[in-house]
Amino acid sequence: MAGDTKAEDGRDGESPLAVERPKGGRLQAWFADHGRAASDASLFVSQRLISSFLVWLMVGVALTLPGLLWIAQSNVQAINQQWQGSAGLTVYMKLAASQQLIDDMEIRLNRETGVERVIRTTPDQALQELLEQSDESAFLRDAMAAVGSNPLPASFAVVLNDSSSYLQLDALSRKLSAQTGVDDVVIEMTWLERLRDLSELFNRLGSGLSIMLLIAAVLVAFASVRLAIESRLGELRVLALIGATPAQMRRPFLYFGSAYGIGGGVMAIMLIAVFLNQIEAPLQSLLVSYRAGIEIAGFTPGFLLAILLVGWFLGVAGAMLALFQRGGTDKPPS
């Protein structure tokens, strides 16, 4: 073997300190190295399937809650946005209210601060709408004929602008209720207003919880990669001895971190899917009871990709932390 050294190399006289670059270009070398690290990581993970599964599960659980909170948040926002188009209150005039009082009320409502628009509904329009919406319009028509007059009052749908809060809506409602000729003031969909507050709460609570859980995911990846480093310390020392670069020694562990992170992301996707499947029926029932037939949104391909990317990022971050914390793995054996 050594016999053909001089013949092939012809390097006698060169300094061992001369830098010998890999043949085939840097990019090819870089890809070859990544291929080696990736196959090394797959082998390592496949040889420890149970412990790897537990790591995936831990990272997955840590990713699931932020994922679910994000889906909840985006759904609450969707409901809010639907509601914002018809936000406000309805003012019902007394049946005996004069035309003058009704006209004055319309002018007054249009002058109120925060009011975006006022939609007036006359008793005739209200009756017409009622008949159109009712499945038993013939019966209603007969009933109206028996009564002899329209029993429905004039009303105003008052739409407030986006910046109006529930408190302003409530104050306006009280003020209008006290006006002459006003029979009743109904605040529309107050439960959605509460939902908006709830959404804000979700937002703040969710952000804090998510940050903590994502840190937990990084720490899980960190601990796992740290163990991997410890279990391969002998190998790392040999690699340092034979001239592996620090990047070559770090690379397999970054792949471990990626594998743990992406695996955790896949686990999180499965957990979220199961969870959504479990809550879909009761949630739909709840929303329908509020006449808000909304499908659960957010579980889209983009969301799935985002979960995988976040998992990958957290896994790599954990691995980098472990490598940084461990350091000094490039010492040759003594």
Partner: protein, 229 residues
């Protein structure tokens, strides 16, 4: 020009002890030199300095005139790829086959699979282990494991071979076989430095002997022309 040079090298440890004390020596290119002395004499410290794992407290360690301790983290791996290192406890990777262990230094240099196979076969053939490539180190005898370690050290065709007690675990017959291998590499142009405390074995080799004692170079015996076989 001398391939390896130590100029007034002192290595003082944190506890105040001196691993090496004002050592100066020079080893010519293509020669085989033995480094001997009792345990703790400073043999391993000197070898570690030559592979850049230790830095001198004072003095300089030169390889072809360049100071090894001045190599940065990016240059050091490239330097180590050109130094073959053989250790007493082999440091073979137990979860890899003999072939993979020997191929390791080549894989990090991005040689093609074909070139790697050719060189590994050659190295295994040199140490007489051609038929053991598919085995794991635990299936080999101590002597065979040591030869795998030598094959891994030389597969990259190093210009310098450093061996730290390479025959420490071997019987006299295997020890002579290993020495014979080092002579072969030396004859092919490699500079070989072997640290060993086996005086009897060393004397038979007819090579220059550097004797360390308590970190100091106390004797430098020139090579004799006779080599025991």
């Amino acid at each position: 020009m001398a391939r390896l040079q130590l100029q007034h090298v002192t290595r003082r440890f944190d506890n105040g002890q001196e691993g090496l004390s004002d050592v100066s020596l020079s080893i010519e290119s293509g020669s085989m030199v033995f480094l001997t002395g009792h345990s703790g004499a400073g043999k391993s410290t000197l070898l570690k300095m030559l592979i850049g794992a230790e830095t001198p407290t004072t003095g300089r360690v030169l390889v072809d005139g360049s100071d090894v301790s001045q190599l940065g983290p990016k240059q050091m791996p490239w330097y180590r790829r050109q130094v073959g290192i053989v250790l007493q406890d082999h440091n073979l990777l137990e979860n890899r086959t003999v072939y993979d262990n020997v191929a390791l230094p080549l894989r990090i240099t991005h040689l093609s699979a074909k070139d790697i196979a050719r060189r590994v076969r050659g190295a295994l053939s040199t140490v007489d282990l051609s038929d053991k490539g598919g085995l794991f180190p635990k299936h080999l005898s101590t002597g065979e494991q040591q030869r795998v370690g030598i094959a891994r050290a030389v597969v990259n065709r190093p210009r310098i071979i450093l061996a730290d007690e390479p025959t420490g675990n071997l019987d006299p017959y295997l020890s002579r076989q290993v020495m014979s291998l080092f002579h072969q590499f030396c004859d092919l142009g490699s500079t070989v430095l072997v640290a060993s405390h086996d005086i009897d074995l060393i004397k038979d080799q007819g090579c220059r002997i550097l004797h360390l004692s308590q970190g100091a170079l106390v004797q430098d015996t020139a090579a004799s022309s006779e080599v025991a076989t």
